[in-house]
Amino acid sequence: MTKWYRENAPITADRLAEELMRLKRGSVTRRHFLGVTGLGLATAVLARQPALFNSTAFAEDLGTQMSIATWPNYHDPATFEAFKAATGVAVEVNVFGSNEEMLAKLQAGGTGWDLFVPTNYTISTYAKLGLIDELDLSKLPNYDPSAENPRFANEGTIDGKTYAVPKNWGTTGIAVNSDKIKKPVTSWKDFFEVAMTEADGRAMVHDYQLTTIGNALVSLGYSFNSIKPDELAKAEEVLIKVKPHLYAINSDYQPAMRATDAWMTMCWTNDGAQLNRDMPEIQFVLGKDGGEIWSDFYAIPKSAANKPAGYALLNYLMTPENAVKEHIANGAPTTDSRVLKLLSAEVTSNKIVYPEEAALTPLEFGAAVTLTDPGRAELMARFKAA
């Protein structure tokens, strides 16, 4: 990635964005893979040229360098270029594969992140462990709590203290290649059945306990977040039974779906929107029996080396005009009504990104307990070893 970047170096912001999208479509990006190999730490330093001008709008010294930990394909690279141009602060982007891994890195210490993007169900744990501080909202004048959908914003606030502010929300549904699979797939029960029949050898589940175990539980009529041993035992039976029929256990499903090596997968909203945009035969459906709804947040680690820059970037990202570009780039739905107004009807009428409210009703937010429950961790290990 670094080499690619250098070879293309003087490059316009638009071109950079376009190239990054191509890189993504060409399957160079590996959400899960980057995370698990630690390659997520192989970072791309964006905005290398010295700043053209320095803004005097910032009272504090922002330094010249900061670092953000986030998900792959989750930002418009031009955003960081523009931030650098406005403030003189270069943003180092660290890409991760799972919340668990982000938490593991922060627990181990010495990350150097000034801003990161945790998912709703992890925030209470970060706060409990003292890894994040309450945000100083006076430094975030562009954040408007009244514009946020409380359904997606509430887990950022604990006991009245705001620890994190929302970036966007999304769901975990099913991506199905309708050219290959004729039986309608409308629920997680269908997913596991079709995985063993019509999609034998062609279905993928995430390498991620929350969604893989959660959706197996949902297929049995249990809660996505269950940690009850008897329910987990039944979910384990489902997973062990389906395993010989799976194409792969991998959270990096876009390449396999695009190559039609895989025909059906567990899928996050933003990936579903990207797949469907490029290959209309790949449809994205939400389980009518349930599944996950989530929101991702911005938070500042207690150990941040350059908090002023962390706040400055966060405030920049909370500006609706900047946030709207982020939403167009990553394809996930916004939590901010100010941003929603700026999005074109083409985006807001996309039923993958903005589904009907009724489709969301059976979905559950992930629960904090699943993050640390040893029972689910051991079940996942047994499933993978089976």
Partner: protein, 288 residues
Amino acid sequence: MRAAMNTKRNLVTAALIAPAAAWLFVFLVLPFIAMLVFAFGERAPEGGYQAAFTFAQFANLPARATAFWNTLLLAPAGALLCLVVAYPTAYYLAVKANPRYRLMLVSLVVVPFWTSLLVRTYAWMYILGSRGIPNLLALIGIEDVRLLNTPGAVLLGIVYGYLPLMIMPIYVSLEMLDRRLLEASADLGAKPVSTFFGVTLPLSLPGVMTGVALVTILLLGEYLIPQLLGGGKVFFIGNALVDLFLQSRNWPFGSAIAVTLVAVVVVVLMVAMRIAWKVAGTRQVDLV
């Protein structure tokens, strides 16, 4: 005079060894001690480590028995498969190849190392994926061939990735072979085949053992190739460790598994070296 020379020699030795020793102490010995301490600790409620003294982590090792077994089967099997492919190549390079081109041919073996194994393994994902070889086979009427995410793909990736590490030690041992022994064997009436099995092969055994030990040890910690070419459906000890440290954040249990793996590696290495020395020693006595 002699004492002074000895002191000087010792100082030189110490100065030469110091950088490596310091490096190993800071980056190998200290982390290993930390790992040992963690292995006797407990997982904190939210993950990580909390101080304790318990054997619970070691008692729990059977929970990853499948991962251990998969690894202990894959590592030697992969190494032997590498050997079968590597030996003829090394033999050709050392014995048959035109000396004028030998250096170039040997460097061709090493050249793939200039590209990251990760990138090369990704290339295999596309070669084996349905747009690669199966697509070509479909053109000649062989439909629905699945290569990627199969055990065969994992073995292929392993042999491909580790082949140079097997070829080089065998090549070196064959190159050092005294050609006069081969001539003597022929003069005494041995056919080429019996010369090979009676002289060449035994004399190259130290190289073979080194290659097998090297590849086996690296394979014991292999994680990448099964993950990418096996579709994450096969669980090795490397995969178990990644999950324990980065997903469930059970550092003590992960440490206990890592300590056990190190112990296994040390035993494998000792046995392999002992056999290698024994074979090398006796053969030389026999022949000279």
